[in-house]
């Protein structure tokens, strides 16, 4: 009997599998496909203070073994998420959910996190610092240790639940950014967010997506994600949620060996809507194949 259980920032997970924000909506639509209570948890659609339609379409491009998206944080805004989405989720999910939050100012982050922190369905706050800082010339919060520290402190000051900062890989030194989050009080780090990428349409001779550039994800980015998780594991002592190109049980094990306590699955959900359930079912056999009795014991094993 192998053991899939892990503990993420003080909360137990039946298994480390977590559908990533933006690929699983608010969960209830996937519950029509399978019982989503088999998941460790999931991270819901990135939520902001106010409702957003996001970017113009086309928002999607394909790449070798991956994809680019420029959805632009479309969401109904935190009030509607609490009043409409969470009640729908409650009907089909009896576990704590990870609340993914984005913002365009430090105040935004604090405002949205404070509201979601009060919801009993919410177990963790995952703060996406890859968004442009409108008061900082549009540079992403996640590119500066000072800015991520500011956001982390502001969110911690108004919340009680574990705060996980979701980092962008599009930086020179991700370990330094992660350290700044830890020192500012973050309870965990999740990474990697998407790489910045683009494609050009040879027929129109223009960028494929309306926003020109977008977030590059999918199997293609797995080696970058593993490297970042490995570097951050060496730099901090708080748990890491690893993600980026994970699409199989073996990828999950590799990500945990790199240093991840839990693992998010993103783009793969868009190709195989059952992939997270399948991975959970596959894990025991692969654990046996590689001589692993308990997943929690292999975290960071490659170091």
């Amino acid at each position: 009997m192998v053991d899939l259980k892990v503990n993420l920032c003080g909360l137990p997970l039946d298994n480390p599998i977590i559908p990533a924000s933006g690929t699983f909506g608010f969960g209830y639509e996937f519950s029509e496909l399978y019982d989503i209570n088999c998941l460790g948890t999931f991270s819901f659609k990135g939520t902001t203070k106010d409702a957003r339609f996001g970017n113009p379409t086309p928002r999607i491009a394909e790449t070798p073994n991956g994809m680019i998206n420029a959805v632009g944080l479309q969401n109904p805004g935190v009030e509607k998420v609490i009043s409409e989405e969470l009640p729908k989720l409650k009907k089909c999910f009896n576990k704590k959910v990870m609340a993914n939050v984005s913002g365009f100012s430090v105040e935004d982050y604090a405002y949205t996190c404070e509201k979601l922190d009060k919801e009993e369905q919410v177990g963790w706050l995952e703060v996406n610092v890859s968004c442009p800082n409108v008061h900082g010339g549009g540079m992403s919060f996640g590119t500066s240790p000072e800015m991520v520290a500011k956001v982390t402190k502001a969110v911690k000051a108004v919340t009680t639940k574990p705060v996980i900062i979701k980092l962008s890989p599009n930086v020179t030194n991700i370990a330094e950014i992660a350290k700044a989050c830890e020192e500012a009080g973050a309870d965990g780090i999740s990474l990697i967010n998407t790489l910045l990428g683009m494609r050009i349409d040879l027929k129109t001779k223009k960028p494929v997506i309306a926003n020109k550039m977008g977030g590059f994800s999918g199997s293609a980015i797995l080696p970058v994600a593993l490297r970042c998780v490995y570097q951050v594991y060496d730099a901090v002592n708080i748990p890491i949620v690893g993600m980026g190109g994970v699409s199989s049980a073996e990828d999950v094990i590799e990500m945990m060996l790199a240093g991840a306590t839990a693992v998010q699955i993103g783009a793969a959900n868009l190709i195989n809507p059952y992939v997270c359930r399948d991975i959970i079912n596959d894990l025991p056999a692969f654990m046996q194949k590689y001589g692993i009795n308990s997943l929690k014991n292999i975290v960071g094993g490659a170091h």
Partner: protein, 243 residues
């Protein structure tokens, strides 16, 4: 939505760059004409969404045009090959609103979904007219198939090589009809919107990520709310569309 492995029964060229593929497998989740299926191809990350041309208990028929490397690979597949497919995607057309004499308007690769819609409406005893628009004669397909259903079939070609010279609207303007259903390119939609005399339904195309509503890649604004073309569409009623 259902995921299933389908076997290719046939895959043949029926017009310039246009292929018809018949697949056998579990079609139980296909409920309405105008829905689509999403096909996984080896060597490509994203699935390929293709509208359903026709279906029965055991098979689904699609018609696709070779426009890129994905559809090119599809055109080279052989009967017996197996494909991982998501079925029952999208809302499809609502046939209860057709009235007695609906008109179906298909343009180019927008023609296929009209076929099963036409079949369903005729089974309902409706008096169906079909207007099919193409650039030129060698792109035309399914003329006999539509006629065999018992529909009045009109053609418009941009170069006048077959049927009326001009666009589907050049035929539509002289017809009487109770309701319209259409699928095709945006310029055709705008032309129809300008002259349509009744309510109707438009089936939209958009670049999709997942095809089942998870990624918000194909969002679109309507008069009343934001919708996802792949899940809440691809068919929208005339009254809700923001042009």
């Amino acid at each position: 939505m259902k995921q299933g492995i389908f076997e290719i029964v046939s895959n043949k060229k029926i017009a310039k760059d246009v292929f018809e593929m018949v697949l056998s497998g579990d079609t139980s989740d296909i409920k309405n004409p105008g829905q689509f299926i999403n096909i996984k191809l080896d060597g490509f990350f994203l699935r390929r969404p293709i509208s359903v041309c026709d279906y029965d208990e055991k098979t689904v028929t699609i018609i696709y045009k070779v426009v890129g490397s994905g559809t090119d690979v599809m055109s080279k597949l052989n009967s017996g090959d197996k494909l991982d497919i998501l079925t029952g995607l999208g809302n499809g057309f609502d046939i209860t609103k057709s009235g007695d004499s609906p008109v179906l308007i298909g343009g180019g690769v927008g023609v296929p979904p009209m076929y099963n819609l036409c079949k369903k409406l005729i089974t309902e005893g409706k008096n169906v007219s079909v207007i099919l628009g193409f650039n030129t004669e060698n792109e035309i397909f399914y003329e006999e198939e539509f006629k065999n259903l018992g529909a009045k079939v009109y053609f418009a070609t941009a170069d006048g090589s077959y049927g009326k010279k001009g666009f589907v609207t050049d035929v539509l303007k002289d017809l009487e009809y109770s309701y319209f259903y259409t699928c095709g390119p945006m310029p055709m939609f705008e032309a129809i919107e300008n002259i349509a005399k009744t309510s109707g339904q438009y089936s939209f195309e958009e670049r999709m990520g997942c095809g089942f509503g998870a990624c918000m890649g194909c969002s679109c604004k309507t008069k009343y709310k934001n919708i996802r073309i792949c899940k809440d569409g691809p068919v929208l009623e005339r009254e809700v569309i923001v042009w």
